[in-house]
């Protein structure tokens, strides 16, 4: 039973809803009134080569190279990859491995840079006049600037801007929902840089060639709604600011599309199949900087929050700044935090090493105290069905969990495991405090591993067969060679015998045989 939300009464535009979802305590008040401040120059900058979905970038600098701000230091490898630029001027002190800003803490290829403090710009990218530029030029500029989806998914933006070639696009939706608790960086960006964002939106709309543009903002950000409504025109496009109810996971791409257009993206398909492309607000800002000023993506806005942080803030930091320096800038910890997260509390990554860097997709750094995090104690499932009510995808998480714990991963996949978004609504709601999402992540990883192993086994068979064939071919060739040699020897002998018999060998035949014998 879902009653229409009160927001519907005030905004008749909104007439759709999503199923499930939760209303967690937002904690946004911690930072929602903190203006975006620029973080001072860090002492070190670490740039992982993989800050995006797709192939790792290829480093084009070496140790001890001097680089300038905005200089390309690692270039995209293949169509689904992204450029990486130096965020400031300085010296490359290592091209090696460092701990990934990821829950696994695995070492990943990283370029380490020591800033020289001068922050000297190298040559900018050539500026474009979007009014005259073709969609291809805009997309190429976005690709050159290394822009990726800044909401956290980090999908290379240029690839999305080029979808026009494959799909009939009608609608661009700007995702300013920011449904994760604590995070306010998109909210602040919209309040402070609305005009720049609007320009970025216009540029993207032009590149995509869409007919209508929506800016989706959750109802709990009235100032951002006001700011974006004021600046709702750019490059001949007029955007509709669409107020969506405050509900997690409103920022999920497919759910946002459902909310605004009322259409459901088919499973395993893209929103582009419906003619809709979704971009993040912060991405629009980065596009504006790249196209108008030729600035590559070298800095981003990050919310630093949680009750474990002494002075919560919204910071504009250089990509690659170590988390520990940002926390120190925010006054350090109030108490030993229970968890240190990159991203929001629902889908963020816990990290163990605070020296990991901020990357292009990092929208928050949260230090949560024990009082803010769930306890570790779990109870058995009582089948209360809260997970089912909360699931925005329509899964039965308690059943998936039971199957996974019984070892029936294939069975879990059959009842929808692969459609899980890992949004965390089920775990959030679970009165027994079961780590449902972790179960699902485990099962998905395990299934992927099994799949790849199966693939490898087939590959092994192929390799073994190829080797066998090759060995046989070699053997056969040897055999042929032996036979040939034998025949030659026999022929030679015969010829010699004949020569001896005749006392006068015919030279032409001898040379012919010689010629044959040395292939």
């Amino acid at each position: 039973m879902r009653l229409p939300s009160i927001a519907t009464l005030f905004h008749p535009l909104q007439s759709f809803s999503i199923r499930g979802g939760i209303h967690p305590e937002t904690h946004k008040h911690l930072t929602s009134e903190c203006e975006i401040e620029t973080m001072p120059m860090p002492t070190l900058i670490r740039l992982p080569l993989q800050q995006h979905i797709g192939a790792e970038a290829e480093p084009i600098v070496r140790r001890d190279d001097l680089v300038l701000k905005g200089q390309l230091i690692a270039k995209a490898r293949g169509p689904l990859s992204a450029n990486i630029h130096a965020p400031t001027s300085g010296r490359v002190i290592a091209v090696g491995h460092f701990v990934a800003p990821h829950a696994s803490g695995l070492p990943v290829p990283t370029i380490t840079l020591r800033p020289d403090g001068e922050d000297r710009w190298g040559p900018h990218l050539p500026r474009l006049r979007p009014e005259n530029a073709s969609p291809e030029e805009i997309a190429a500029q976005v690709a050159a600037a290394g822009i990726v989806g800044m909401g956290g998914a980090t999908f290379p933006s240029a690839v999305k801007l080029n979808l026009r070639a494959k799909y009939d696009l009608t609608t661009l939706i700007l995702n300013g929902a920011e449904c994760e608790p604590y995070l306010t960086c998109d909210d602040r960006l919209m309040r402070e840089r609305a005009e720049e964002i609007a320009d970025g939106i216009g540029i993207m709309a032009r590149a995509l060639g869409v007919k209508q543009v929506f800016v989706a903002i959750e109802s709990n950000k009235p100032q951002a709604i006001e700011a974006m409504t004021r600046y709702n025109r750019a490059l001949g496009y007029t955007f509709k600011v669409h107020v969506v109810p405050t509900q997690y996971p409103m920022g999920s791409e497919k759910h946002l599309v459902k909310m605004i257009t009322g259409r459901e993206t088919p499973a395993r398909a893209l929103t582009a199949d419906l003619g809709v492309v979704v971009h993040n607000i912060a991405t629009a800002h980065a596009v504006h900087l790249a196209v108008r000023y030729g600035e590559p993506l070298i800095a981003r806005t990050v919310t630093v929050s949680g009750h474990g942080i002494r002075r919560p803030a919204n910071l504009r930091v250089l990509i690659g700044t170590p988390v520990s320096e940002i926390i120190a800038h925010c006054g350090g910890f109030t108490e030993e935090p229970d968890r240190l997260l990159l991203g929001g509390p629902m889908m963020g990554m816990p990290i163990q090493n605070p020296r990991v860097p901020v990357v292009k997709g990092t929208n928050g750094i949260l230090a949560l105290t024990a009082a803010e995090t769930p306890e570790a104690k779990t109870m058995p499932c009582i089948r209360c069905g809260r997970c089912v009510q909360g699931c925005p995808v329509g899964l039965t998480p308690f059943e998936l969990n039971a199957r996974i714990h019984a070892g029936d991963l294939e069975g879990a996949a059959k009842v929808g495991l692969m459609d899980c978004l890992a949004c965390g609504c089920c775990s959030y709601n679970c009165p027994a405090n079961l780590p449902l999402v972790q179960s699902f992540q485990f099962a998905k990883g395990k299934l992927a591993e099994r799949q790849s192993r199966k693939h490898q086994q087939e590959e092994t068979k192929r390799l073994a067969a190829a080797r066998k064939a090759r060995e046989e071919a070699i053997l056969e060739a040897k055999k042929q060679m032996m036979l040939k040699r034998k025949a030659e020897m026999a022929a030679k002998k015969k010829a010699e015998e004949a020569a001896a018999a005749a006392e006068m060998p015919p030279p032409a035949t001898a040379t012919a045989i010689q010629g044959e014998a040395t292939p």
Partner: protein
Amino acid sequence: MTMHMPVAGPHTHTLFTVSRTMLTVVVALTPATLFGLWQFGWPAIFLFLTTVLSAWVFEVACLWIAKKPIRPFATDGSAILSGWLVAMTLPPYAPWWVGTIGAFIAIVLAKQIFGGLGQNLFNPAMVARAMLVVALPVQMTTWIAPVGLLDGPSFLHGLSITFLGAQDFDAVSSASTLSHIKSQISAGATMGEILPTLADLESRLLGFVPGSLGETSTLLLALGGLLLLVTRIITPTIPLAVLGTIATLSAVCSFFAPDRFAPPILHLTSGSTMLCAFFIATDYVTSPVSTAGKWVYGIGIGTLIFVIRTFGAFPEGVAFAVLLMNSVTPLIETYIRPRIFGRSRSGKPLGTTKPAKGATK
């Protein structure tokens, strides 16, 4: 910086817990229970306390035998709640051992043998009630008229009724509404003749009628149910389905054959209808979780209650109705699932209405 093993998100959590859920249900049951205890006096109070306490003792004993951690399970409130619900369905002057046996059946046979909290297939309180009704027909159908705590048996007299099995009630033995109807109908009376002999609607709503310990006050039970709805412990689906089905079926039947069938209002205000709709049928463990499944389950229970009451041998069919529907819950869950986002009901991805450019050109 010392950090324990990282765990996957989410890293924030609702305040709802298992024990909080159980506690809310207990609170919701309290008004009707207190009223029942007041109405039926000391014997009821002793029976109630014995049943709840023995349920808890059986739970702890089972945990100890099964070598399970005792503290978290003994304090989660689930055993108390099961014992409480068993007590609510007992005749108020039943001897103590009826309550203890009921608690034993509910906790040991219906819950712990299946694996404890969350594992049982059947509703523990209803298993207890069904077994007691079949095994102890005399004790389970001895109803008395409510007289109030002060006018009823004294403290000591109450003790002797509950623990010594004294039969010297001052109070008048009487039949519950449903058993009265059943006996009259089988004696050949028409509904038109029976209805005037029953207690009026007002006392049935408030609870001034003979009946089980905690089932008499329809209004207070509905109030408790409302609390569960407001606190979102339960969704309105199952209560609506159960009550709606009973009302609809009895309305239709009594419209066409008013002499043979009781009117809907009588069904809704007698027996354990309200207790069942809000507290028994909505039991998490033994009911389906999807909304569509809940409708099927609730309608099934409503239909069975009506059928057993009207055509069966027993005057009240709630326990059997619930148990029968419990047994099909796994089946309902297998076949009635929520639709997955982006997929049709059969699990196939939805078709795109707009083909990709490549396809059109």
